[in-house]
Structures are given as structure tokens and as C-alpha cells.
């Protein structure tokens, strides 16, 4: 424990770097996956192609991706951009399917009635389909967030610093406390991100709260009637 206190400054710095590396791929992954998922949902032909390709992306070993990307992007080996791009690719791999499922979860009758009352296709996407796909999108983003926060560590193997450094250094020094510190810090970040996503979802989708409340109220009423 004394090691933790002695190195609190370095741990904090690594934590901030870790967070800094995690946020861009999560955000970019979302922004790129939503249109791809919509296309996959909208056009049957594209669905199988997009979902297969995005599924395959996830099978690329991260280490090899880190090594190949500098050649493709023209970045240096130590550039954090490599890690961010790699993580974005994984985020898309996970998220395109969720986004397609999310748009698929919108009741056809609601989509049809929105059209019937005079929404244009563009307006309907923003005002009806995107918000109603929201709960499934949030569920998908929670997986993406957890996966990104844990995978970022691998970047330390190629020298892009993050909490992963504590794993490598701890392993080299056969020092368990350092490894455990890395694990705990990673988990804390993942949990905070997860809570933030859930909170954001509740804030942006108040109707999901109230329908849960209404269901509870109805359930309570049934219990009273039964009693």
C-alpha cells in the first residue's frame, strides 16, 4: 500500500492519460457506427455485408493492428493516434450491430405513423428513430466503453503509455501490488464511464424512466388489488 502512496502522482498521471486515450475512440466509434448501423438496418443487402465485415474487424489481434497502423497512417510507432484509431475500429466492430439492432427495435407502426403525420425521412431519423433506438444504443455503448477502457492497456506494449504500463512494469519486477493497482484503476475508470453512460441515457431519454415508473406503479396497484 505504501507503494501506492509513494507513487500516487504517477498513478494519477497514467490514469488521466488512460482516460484521455479512451474517450476519443468511444465518441468516434459512436459517431461512425450510428450511420453505418442505420444503413445496415435500412437496406437488407448491406446488412449482412456490414455486420460480417464489422464482426471480422474485431478478430484482428490488437497488437498486430498497433504495429500495422503506423505504416498505413504514416504515423510514428509511438504516436497515440495509432491506439486511438485501433480502438475506434474495435468500437465500430462492436457498435455497428448494436446500432442496427437499435434501429430495428423501433416499432414499424411508430415509424409509419410518423411518416403519415408528415415527417420527412431526415426529420423522422432525428426526431423518431434515433431517440427510440436510444436504449439499445446506450446498451451497446456500455459494452464499447468497457472494452475500450480495458483494451487501451495493450498500447503500453508498443510504448503508448497508459495504466497498462503498471502491468508491464509490475510483471517485469514481479511486483503484485503494482499490477493490482493497474487493475483497480482500470476498473474504476470503466465503472465511472458506465455510470456516466447510464446517466446520460436517463437524462436524454426521460420517457424510459417514466415508463419504468409507470410499470412499477401498475405492478404496485396489482399487488394492492390482490391484497
Amino acid at each position: 500500500m505504501s507503494w501506492v502512496f509513494a507513487n500516487v502522482e504517477q498513478i494519477w498521471e497514467l490514469t488521466l492519460t488512460h482516460i484521455g486515450l479512451s474517450i476519443p475512440p468511444i465518441v468516434l466509434g459512436f459517431l461512425l457506427s450510428v450511420p453505418l448501423g442505420w444503413v445496415a438496418h435500412r437496406y437488407a443487402v448491406s446488412r449482412s455485408i456490414l455486420l460480417t465485415v464489422s464482426g471480422l474487424l474485431y478478430t484482428i489481434p490488437s497488437l498486430s493492428l498497433f504495429l500495422v497502423l503506423p505504416a498505413i497512417l504514416g504515423t510514428t510507432q509511438l504516436d497515440p493516434v495509432n491506439v486511438i484509431v485501433a480502438m475506434t475500429i474495435y468500437a465500430i466492430a462492436l457498435m455497428v450491430r448494436s446500432a442496427a439492432d437499435g434501429f430495428g427495435s423501433v416499432e414499424p407502426s411508430v415509424r409509419q405513423s410518423a411518416t403519415a403525420i408528415g415527417y420527412s425521412e431526415w426529420g423522422r431519423f432525428w426526431a423518431v428513430e434515433l431517440p427510440l433506438a436510444g436504449p439499445v444504443l446506450v446498451a451497446g455503448m456500455r459494452v464499447v466503453s468497457a472494452s475500450t477502457v480495458s483494451l487501451i492497456s495493450v498500447g503500453s506494449l508498443i510504448g503508448v503509455s497508459s495504466l497498462g504500463y503498471l502491468f508491464i512494469d509490475g510483471l517485469n519486477r514481479q511486483f503484485t501490488v503494482e499490477i493490482l493497482t493497474g487493475i483497480v484503476a482500470t476498473i474504476i475508470i470503466a465503472v465511472i464511464f458506465d455510470l456516466a453512460l447510464v446517466g446520460l441515457g436517463r437524462l436524454l431519454m426521460p420517457w424510459t424512466r417514466s415508463s419504468a415508473k409507470a410499470q412499477r406503479r401498475r405492478a404496485a396497484a396489482r399487488v394492492e388489488v390482490a391484497a
Binding site: 407502426s109 411518416t115 403519415a116 403525420i117
Partner: protein, 276 residues
């Protein structure tokens, strides 16, 4: 006035849903399409706001050929009420009612004020304004659906089996409510149902359809019941099976009409009921 001229619709899979349909729907009256499922009644209704485009023939609203109108603009001036309300589940009652006016550029405050008035019109408590559709009963949702259909004060209101999914008691309430609203607002209502009693109750004009959108008979309830065009209609309206037969009986010295199940349907009077 809505005018169908030799309209047909063949879906991409080859189904001919509507075959050479011609009809003039008068303004400011309720016209009901009635028929069993698959008769094309919903397809015909949806052609009016271009949810479905015909593959043959033409449809005019007043003097406009609707094929030349922008579908989105057209839909924004035609009220639409569907089964299961079709409300947006993520919008509150008031927002649902105010949706279309706001799409057409009405300011939010004005749209909300008008929406509250409409809740009164359809007999809903204003306290429900901030609820979400899932928090309402089926009947209440349907009333919100009607309010939303009326929100832009359209000349034409399309109603696609709007009361099909609510229980019989609520359905009767909603039907009476619609009659009351219509007597006040006098919209051109086109209503689709498979319930012949509903058709007779609500329709100034009833159009009985056979598969393919073929008109078997069109006319007022009186005309259809008293002179069914053929056996199909007679069966459909229940004129053949004795369901609508009333027999006159003597009860306690008064002459009463008795329905087939033996219940008294009413008392006969000697004088003509006044038509005023």
C-alpha cells in the same frame, strides 16, 4: 371533395390490392369504407395521403391531382388517426398533439396552447398533458390520437380502424365522442373499419368493399339495410340471418319491437317521430 378515377394498385410482389376503383367522397361528411380484411380498404385510405402511390388511375383532392403534390407537405395538411394510436412513445401527450403544427412552423408556445384546447375537444383531462403514452389507457391514447389528427385543423381526417383495439365499452364512448366532434367541426372524414355496425353508426356514406377494392354497394345506412344490392351485402349487414329483424309484440297493452334474442328494442308509437 376527394375523387378516385379508375385507381388501381399492384404491389411489387404482384398482389393486386385495388382494381379499377372509382369513387367521389363528398366534403364535410363521414365516408366509411367497410369490408373484411384484405378488401383493400386500408390501401385505398393510404392513397389519399400518398402513404401508398397508385399504380394506375388518378386521385384528386378538390382540383389538385395529388400525384403532383409533395407527399410530406400533403400529409401535413391531412389528419391521420390509426389503430393503436400510433403516438410517439418518447413524446408527452402535449408534444404528440403539437408535433405536426410545430413541423409546419408554428411556435412551440402557440402549438402547446392549441394542443391543450384540443385535449378539451376530445374529452381528455388537461392534467394528462405531461404524461407519456405508455402511462395512458388504450381509450385515452386513442383520444390523444384523434386530438393529434385534428391539431392542424385539417379539412380531411383519415381514420384507419381507430377504435379497433379498444374494448367495446370504450369503443362506444369514442364513437359517440367522434359523432359529437364531427357535428361541431364537419370535417371530411374517411374512416376504415371491418365493423358494419360502426360503419352504419358513423357513416353518412357507407362503402362496402369486396377484395380488390371492388365497391359492392355505396349509400347511406338506410339505403343499404333496406335494399341490399346482393346476397353478399345482405349477409354482410346481417339482413339475411335475421340479426336485424324486429318483430312487433303486444306487452302490457303497448306495442313493442323485439329483436331476435327476445330483448325489447323499443316501443312503437302511432304518430311519426318528428324529424326536427
Amino acid at each position: 371533395m376527394i375523387q378516385f378515377d379508375h385507381v388501381s394498385k399492384t404491389f411489387p410482389d404482384g398482389t393486386r390490392a385495388v382494381d379499377d376503383f372509382s369513387l367521389t367522397i363528398p366534403s364535410r361528411q363521414t365516408t366509411v369504407f367497410v369490408g373484411s380484411s384484405g378488401c383493400g380498404k386500408t390501401t385505398i385510405l393510404r392513397m389519399i395521403n400518398r402513404m401508398v402511390d397508385p399504380t394506375g388511375g388518378s386521385i384528386h383532392i378538390d382540383d389538385d391531382d395529388i400525384a403532383t403534390l409533395n407527399p410530406v407537405t400533403l400529409r401535413r395538411r391531412i389528419g391521420y388517426v390509426m389503430q393503436n394510436s400510433g403516438l410517439l412513445p418518447h413524446r408527452t401527450v402535449i408534444d404528440n398533439v403539437a408535433t405536426v403544427p410545430m413541423l409546419t412552423g408554428v411556435k412551440k408556445s402557440a402549438a402547446h396552447a392549441a394542443a391543450l384546447d384540443l385535449l378539451d375537444t376530445v374529452g381528455l383531462d388537461r392534467a394528462l398533458a405531461d404524461r407519456y403514452p405508455a402511462q395512458l389507457s388504450g381509450g385515452q391514447q386513442q383520444r390523444v390520437g384523434v386530438a393529434r389528427g385534428l391539431a392542424i385543423d385539417p379539412n380531411i381526417l383519415l381514420m384507419d380502424e381507430p377504435f379497433g383495439a379498444v374494448d367495446p365499452i370504450v369503443r362506444r364512448e369514442l364513437q359517440q365522442e367522434l359523432l359529437r366532434i364531427q357535428s361541431k367541426l364537419a370535417k371530411t372524414i374517411v374512416f376504415v373499419t371491418h365493423d358494419i355496425d360502426e360503419a352504419f353508426l358513423l357513416g353518412d356514406n357507407v362503402v362496402i368493399l369486396r377484395p380488390g377494392g371492388h365497391i359492392v354497394q355505396a349509400g347511406s345506412a338506410d339505403e343499404i339495410i333496406s335494399a341490399p344490392a346482393d346476397d353478399f351485402v345482405a349477409d354482410f349487414v346481417g339482413a339475411n340471418d335475421g340479426k336485424r329483424d324486429l318483430t312487433v309484440r303486444e306487452r302490457n297493452g303497448r306495442r313493442v319491437a323485439v329483436d331476435p334474442s327476445g330483448r325489447i328494442a323499443g316501443v312503437l308509437r302511432a304518430e311519426q317521430p318528428s324529424d326536427a
